[in-house]
C-alpha cells in the first residue's frame, strides 16, 4: 500500500495564499539502471500528480525519471472557501494513489 503524506493547514483566512506539501512513497525507478548481470531495470515511476480543490484542478505536475525517489512536491494556492483538496498520483504499472485534506476558511 503506497503511503502518502499531505500537509495542508486545517484553517486559513479567506484569500490567504497557503502552501501545500505532498510526499508519496515510491521507488521512482528511472529505467536506466542495470543489474550486476547487465539487465536493464524496467522503468517504474509516477508520471502525474494532480491536486483538485472542490472538484476543480488547481495544480498538476508531469514527472519524469529525473524526479528523486519518494517524490516531494510543494506548491501554493489561494483559499477563498472551505472545502476539500484531493490529490491523485498516477504512475507506471497501473499505479494509482489518492489522498485528501480538508480546510476550513474563516
Amino acid at each position: 500500500m503506497p503511503a502518502a503524506l499531505v500537509n495542508v493547514a486545517a484553517k486559513a483566512k479567506r484569500g490567504a495564499v497557503i502552501e501545500i506539501k505532498t510526499l508519496m512513497s515510491h521507488v521512482m525507478e528511472p529505467g536506466y539502471r542495470h543489474t550486476a548481470a547487465g539487465e536493464i531495470v524496467p522503468r517504474d515511476i509516477i508520471t502525474s500528480v494532480t491536486c483538485k480543490f472542490n472538484g476543480s484542478e488547481i495544480f498538476r505536475a508531469d514527472l519524469f525519471p529525473a524526479i528523486a525517489a519518494n517524490p516531494f512536491l510543494s506548491f501554493f494556492t489561494t483559499v477563498s472557501e472551505s472545502g476539500r483538496f484531493e490529490f491523485e498520483w498516477i504512475g507506471d504499472n497501473g499505479f494509482v494513489a489518492t489522498a485528501s485534506a480538508a480546510i476550513t476558511v474563516e
Binding site: 542495470h34 543489474t35 529525473a66 524526479i67 525517489a69 494556492t77 489561494t78
Partner: protein
Amino acid sequence: MESMFAQRHISRRHLLQLAGTAAAMPALPLITVRPAQATPAMLASAIRNLVGEAKVNVGKIQLDIPPLVENGNTVPMTVSVDHPMTPEAHVKSIHVFNEKNPQPNVANFHLTPSAGRAQVTTRIRLADTQKVVAIARLSDGTFWSASVDVIVTLAACTEEMP
C-alpha cells in the same frame, strides 16, 4: 576545468566497474557500456518542442538549486516566477530541463490563477555535472527562462543495482 572533472569522474567509475565485473564474473568481456546520455542538442530540441518559434526571454523566473551537490540522487530544487497570478495575467506552466541526464525533461508544473504564488519545490536527480534550465510560460504567451550550473560529485540514475 569541467571536462577535466568529467574525465576523471568517468575513468574512476569505469575502473571500479571493471574491477567489480572482473571479480564477480571473469567470463564476461571486460567492456562496460556507458549509458545513453542526453546531449545539449537534446536539451535544445526539448525546449524547442515546448516553445516552438517563440522567443525565450531571460529573467522573471528564479531557479534555486545548490551549486555543489554531493549526492545527485536527491537534489532540492525550487522554481519561482516573479509574476502576478490573476485570471488576466498569470503563469500557466513551469518546465524544468537538464542537459546530461538520460533524458532532457525533469518535470512540468501546470498552474492556475488561483495558485496565488508561482512557486514549486521538489527533489530531482542529476546524473552528472550539468546545466539545469527552467522555463515559464505566461498567459500572454511569452516564455521566460533561467539556468543554473550544478556540480555533482555522486551521480544518480545510471549506477548499478546493488
